[in-house]
């Protein structure tokens, strides 16, 4: 099968005059996680809805697990799992009954359905609450049940639409581990998130959406290199050296600044070999340092630069 599990080609979605998606193309290879970043209203959920067959695109084509999301809806549905922003579970039914229901609808026999449900309840640490109605669950438990429900059919592709929004840190990390295990098993994941640490940790590649357009894509490292700035920071042993340090680095062709609170000199560097320039300049000036570090640009820098800049002219 030549097609990657997720392939989007020139997809546009209009809601009246509003263009929710504007000529979006992307591909996710098998076993990869694509992180989809963007503000509220950037089109993330619209794209997830199209890929999970909940809404048809206005123009363009999308294939999931090799099937066309419009013409082969059933085949697509049979191979995907969807976890949305709100837990899609039956509040009246118990956790066990929810999972059994999904398994039965997928075509499992009663026995197999129960077995699969119990397996997932164990995996998601919901065994004790298995018989309680889902409406009595905490937010974190509900989310876990929801994710479990989307995994019942061993999907090839899963869509996680802001899966950890509103979760406490422990639950978030638990969910991350589950996603990592899924990926180890070869599942392909499309993850939308507002949390950059989440994308940084889980995503193999990142696509930034803004006003329905793809404004950047690549690995986290590529994006950081493209947008962000590395910095070298030297912590001084003696605060009195700061003026001489600034002068020495300036002479070496750098543009340092003094961080008084941390008693450190920080300077943007273009590549790691410039770190050596910093060390040499300080050494020649006879300045003693207690620490020297290279600061990587964060995904926050990338996000703020890309998502903001391109969002403004449209607004």
């Amino acid at each position: 099968m030549a097609r990657p599990p997720i392939e989007v080609e020139h997809v546009t979605k209009d809601f009246g005059k509003f263009k929710a998606l504007d000529d979006v193309s992307l591909r996710v290879p098998q076993g990869n996680v694509l992180g989809l970043l963007g503000h509220n209203g950037a089109g993330k959920t619209t794209l997830v809805n199209i890929l999970s067959t909940l809404a048809p695109p206005t123009a363009g084509t999308a294939h999931v697990a090799g099937y066309d999301v419009v013409r082969q809806r059933r085949q697509v549905c049979a191979r995907i799992g969807l976890t949305g922003q709100f837990a899609a579970v039956d509040e009246q039914l118990s956790g066990l009954d929810n999972l059994v229901l999904i398994a039965r609808l997928l075509g499992a026999s009663k026995r197999a359905a129960k077995q699969r449900a119990e397996e997932l309840l164990t995996l998601f640490e919901l065994t004790e609450a298995a018989k309680r109605p889902a409406r009595t669950y905490s937010g974190g438990m509900r989310r876990r049940l929801d994710l479990a429900a989307s995994l019942v059919g061993h999907p090839d592709v899963i869509f996680l639409d802001e899966p950890t929004t509103g979760l406490d840190p422990t639950s978030r990390m638990g969910l991350w581990r589950i996603v990592e295990n899924l990926v180890d098993d070869g599942t392909t994941v499309l993850l939308t998130t507002q949390y950059l640490d989440e994308a940084d940790r889980l995503a193999d590649s990142i696509t930034v959406l803004s006003s329905g357009k793809v404004v950047a894509s690549g690995t986290a490292e590529e994006l950081k290199a493209e947008v962000g700035q590395r910095t070298a920071t030297a912590t001084l042993t003696d605060a009195a050296d700061s003026a001489r340090a600034l002068e020495a680095l300036g002479r070496a062709g750098l543009s340092p600044v003094h961080d008084e609170q941390r008693n450190a000199i920080t300077t943007p560097v273009n590549a790691s070999h410039e770190l050596a320039v910093v060390v040499r300049a300080l050494d020649e000036a006879g300045i003693e340092v207690s620490g020297l570090g290279l600061g990587e640009p964060t995904l926050d820098d990338v996000y703020l630069t890309l998502a903001h800049h391109s969002a403004e002219p449209a607004a």
Binding site: Q92, L101, L105, T122, L151, G153, H154
Partner: protein
Amino acid sequence: MTSTLTAPRTGEQESTPDRSNWHGAGVWTQIVVLTGRSLRAVLKDPRIVVFSLLQPLIMLTLFSQVFGKALLSSIQTGSYINYLMPAILVTTGIGASLQSGVGLITDMKNGVLGRFRSLPIRMGSVLLARSLADLFRTAVQLLILLGAAAVLFGFSPQGGFLGTFSAWLLALLVSWSLTWVFLAIASWVRKEEVMQSVGFLAMFPLMFASSAFVPLKALPDWLSIVARINPLTYAVDASRDLSLAMPVGTGVFSAVGTSAVLLLVGAFFAVKGFRRPL
């Protein structure tokens, strides 16, 4: 949550080799499983049954006691309860169909319908299951009402068991067909409050401007004209014809025919509306 997904997956492959076929159940299984789910929700919340019984019971009591004596001279059915009960069957059935519509909207908010959309099942199955579960509930509800009417108010129609049974079936058919109409409205409207008002606006004039509670000739002229074109009058008359062993004329056939048409039209628009994204 630290255990891997690999272990249970391989473990399961040994015991259930059919999991590769988990690509969607057949339509029949879809309907059975989904109907079971809707019924379970009713059984788990007996308040639904109690409250949906309360209203027709109150109506039955009030109408039979308030109008019973006054109307005795203008009806030829022996007692007012014999006149009233076939109508109560139909109006209760219609009330239940409105509740189906409201229930569908509640279900849409439940979130689980969102999940159903992303499963390889037909949206028609979801609606059909809902209507079947509600039909079952209505059937039980009407049986309880019939029992109450017989025990408490001395309901004993001339049509006997067979006549009453066919009136019950007719009321269920009318209810089921209107369920589809209300499901159609619900899947387009998608707001509980709007649905309730649409329902009440339609129900109350229909119920009272009809032959349900008083004979047409007891109504003022203009109202009896309205009642004559009110489809509910025909449903009620047909139910009465059956249970009171009156000559079963074209009334029953036109009631069945109208119901069938409403059912098909309602089902068409319900499925169409329901497919629209949430």
